[in-house]
Amino acid sequence: MSPMHSITWATLTKDICLEWRSKDALNSMLFFSLLVVVIFSFSFDPNAEESREIAGGLIWVAFLFAAVVALNQTWTRELRNQVLDAYRVSPAPATALFVAKALGNFILVSVLEALMAPLFMIFYNLRALGPAWQLIPVAILGTWALVVNGTFFAAMSLRTRSREIMLPLLLFPISIPAVQSMVEATRIILSGDGAARFWIVLLLTYDVVFTTACLALFETVLQAE
């Protein structure tokens, strides 16, 4: 294994192991998105037809807010005992650290989605009228879109005052096209009118553009002095 791979792997397994033992982030995300589901359900009280129209928006907004919980604690763990400073002076490539953190968040948010999606289906009586398998690429690309920029901006907001609130302020404006693509694709698939191809391609473009940008600029952000 190259040093890049071994460092990525070591950081990723360490983070997953820590999360597995405490389950802090996962539990708070799960409960948070459950609350969002229930509150939205009371606020809108939709019938089956309306549910298909609005569910895409509700699901992704719930996941977006829940993801911020996970993203916020990505780097704070490394601030204790100056782990991040140690990483900065070590010759390890910065991108390895970034990829590990982004993958860790991706796994965490994916687990959340896998657990919450059935609950959404039950509460909103959802049944996809379009090709349901397309929800899988939408979910994967959409989650990556949120997580890759989220991990990057979380590293940026580490250096600011009140960093917990700074992350959504930076992440949400940039994420608008991604969120719109996810919501529209999900709506089209659930209601079965039209094809979601354009939105999936747009999400893919977003992912490629911002993954490249994050990898290219992460070193600059990590070493910023």
Binding site: R159, M166, L170, I176, E184, A213
Partner: protein, 232 residues
């Protein structure tokens, strides 16, 4: 040498811009013919479009300055980046305020999620978040972080545009403007205003830039004095 010459040129150019602004306002409000269907409300056009143009130019300057800062680490580029972003947000706000004032009598609605309106709003949101980052982060790394965010924002703009363009072409929307040719006198006033607003934006940005440089100088002196233990 050049800096001192520019300092002397500043008041002269400021006076010229002020005169130009007065003349263009007169032209737009009095000289330009009244539009047949829309009436006087159409005159907003002479402020709305030039403001949008100025805002986009300033955001472009911000992107270039940010890239230059990341490459060269020149603090002056960072000062230019922050001034252009601030003045750009002001002009962008003017666009977002004058737009609905015009749209209400003409379209019958204040706002529509049309591609141009929405992408301007998203652009405004991105640059407000840029200014928030600068405000909330007072460490020495702020310029680097802000420059990186400016690049992310610039990458986002075409994606925003495409997503809204596709979204909205699938839905009914109010007709904008319509074809038709512009009265030559209107075009003349419009171009004059476009030029004036560009000058006005550039002057504001320049003033803000000088202020930023002075501010930094003052901060530097103060921190040096406190290091030496000189009572302030």
């Amino acid at each position: 040498m050049i800096a001192s010459e520019m300092k002397r040129a500043f008041p002269i150019l400021a006076v010229i811009t002020a005169l130009l602004l007065a003349y263009s306002t007169y032209q737009a409000l009095v000289v330009a013919p009244t539009e047949r269907t829309m009436g006087d409300v159409q005159r907003i056009f002479y402020y709305h479009v030039p403001s949008a143009w100025t805002a986009f130019c300033l955001f472009f300057v911000n992107l270039i300055a940010s890239i230059v800062y990341l490459v060269r680490k020149n603090p002056k580029a960072d000062a230019l980046a922050v001034s252009s972003a601030e003045v750009g947000v002001v002009f962008c706000t003017i666009v977002l305020i004058t737009g609905p004032i015009w749209a209400r009598p003409v379209w019958g609605i204040w706002w529509t999620w049309d591609v141009r309106l929405t992408s301007t709003l998203v652009l405004w949101l991105i640059y407000v978040s840029y200014l928030m980052l600068r405000r909330f982060s007072d460490s020495a790394q702020t310029p680097v972080l802000a420059a990186v965010l400016a690049i992310f924002g610039a990458l986002d703009v075409p994606l925003v545009y495409f997503s809204i363009w596709f979204f909205r072409t699938q839905h009914p929307q109010p007709v904008i403007g319509g074809g038709g040719s512009l009265d030559p006198r209107m075009l003349h006033v419009f171009l004059l205003n476009l030029f004036t607003f560009s000058c006005f934006g550039a002057m504001l940005c320049w003033a803000r830039y000088r202020l930023e440089l002075l501010q930094r100088e003052v901060e530097e002196v103060e921190s040096l004095q406190s290091l030496r233990g000189v009572p302030q």
